[in-house]
Symmetry: C2
Subunit: 214 residues, 2 copies
Amino acid sequence: RKTFGVIGIGRFGLYMAKTLAENKAEVIACDIEEDPVKEISDFISKSYILDATNEKALKEAGFHNLDTVIVSIGENIEASILTVMQLLKLGVKEIIAKAITSTHGMILEKIGISKIVYPEKNVAIRIAHTLLYEGFIDETPFANEYSIFEIKCPAQFIHKKLNEIDLRNKFDISILSIKRDSSILVNPSAEETIVENDHLLILGKLENVKKLIT
Amino acid sequence: RKTFGVIGIGRFGLYMAKTLAENKAEVIACDIEEDPVKEISDFISKSYILDATNEKALKEAGFHNLDTVIVSIGENIEASILTVMQLLKLGVKEIIAKAITSTHGMILEKIGISKIVYPEKNVAIRIAHTLLYEGFIDETPFANEYSIFEIKCPAQFIHKKLNEIDLRNKFDISILSIKRDSSILVNPSAEETIVENDHLLILGKLENVKKLIT
Ligand SMILES: Nc1ncnc2c1ncn2[C@@H]1O[C@H](COP(=O)(O)OP(=O)(O)OP(=O)(O)O)[C@@H](O)[C@H]1O
Ligand SMILES: Nc1ncnc2c1ncn2[C@@H]1O[C@H](COP(=O)(O)OP(=O)(O)OP(=O)(O)O)[C@@H](O)[C@H]1O
């Protein structure tokens, strides 16, 4: 079983520690302030008040023995970077850090950590896309510029068969499944007819999907 | 063309306004502090320093005429709720607000706004799941407890055909596509053979996917 550390109990750190602990993982958490540590001690057995930029304090709390440590220190970019440096010195194998600005992210990348996350940015971009394009419900990156989209089926497709709308040849878009009322039709056949209020789960490039729904 | 307002230029507000402006949407932004307004004025024509809980100030800036307003005020839950109340009074049709705690979210729900978002929570849960389960790459909710997952193909499937592993009958999981090196195989046939390092894009319930990969 993997062991985890969470440094910095803001919103992101709190939900990270909570989800890990709910799935019976062993988690050690810490924060420089007392209140966040009190809040998290309800569901995590080991939580400490300490300054994570202090190598000795990290070692005493046992962070050097963990498989994965998540650093979620926000406003204070210096503290985030110093903490990551200390963890690298302690030999922690996998470090994941939340980045606050793209410069902060670039520094973390240069130091060489496993994964950098931008929670606010990722969600803001996805929601902005759903606001900009009528019928656009969700978007998830998949591979080489192809993303998975959930879209409301465009009006011009209603009562047409999949082989009639021919998305693959016209837009390089593949239909993965159709959501109809509360059921899901996976890998629909070419003969399937689209009805009103169908949601389509498709795989394609953003600019082609924009063309399809605008 | 839809018109948008963004109130509160923290990380989430900034990326929201930026993405909307990059897609040529008309955006009005505001914040109670000067610095965030300065930062955003580089790419948004209308940005104001104002207290969004003040109805008169919102009206003078033109927020009452907008189709959609996003409220992204974080630390100060009272200001977020008061701002939403003012927007409702001004008759704004679609209001989206970021919630900081679940109680904050519940109050926003009771007041009756279009969408409530928890950016840090959503991303933290998704990343925690990828850390907990070996081979788990990403997860996106789709419909009635079914989500879309990207997983590394389990070792026991290598060199087997899709109809041999029979995921649909054994785990109620459908394979939507296979990512192999840099190409994507959509709606793979039952005769397709899995090779090492394939990533599978699947549709199923979280507890069944956990059974599959653990
Ligand atoms: N040197 C440090 N050692 C340990 N914890 C720290 C240190 N510096 C800051 N923190 C803690 O990190 C936590 C998160 O920081 P902050 O609130 O600035 O980030 P944030 O990005 O706004 O968080 P979120 O968006 O996840 O709520 C805070 O609870 C803060 O006390
Ligand atoms: N009454 C108000 N009117 C307008 N703006 C406000 C008001 N109160 C707070 N703000 C602004 O809202 C912005 C976001 O607030 P805050 O930084 O507390 O949230 P946050 O959730 O930490 O942000 P993020 O995680 O998106 O960076 C700040 O720039 C702040 O100045």
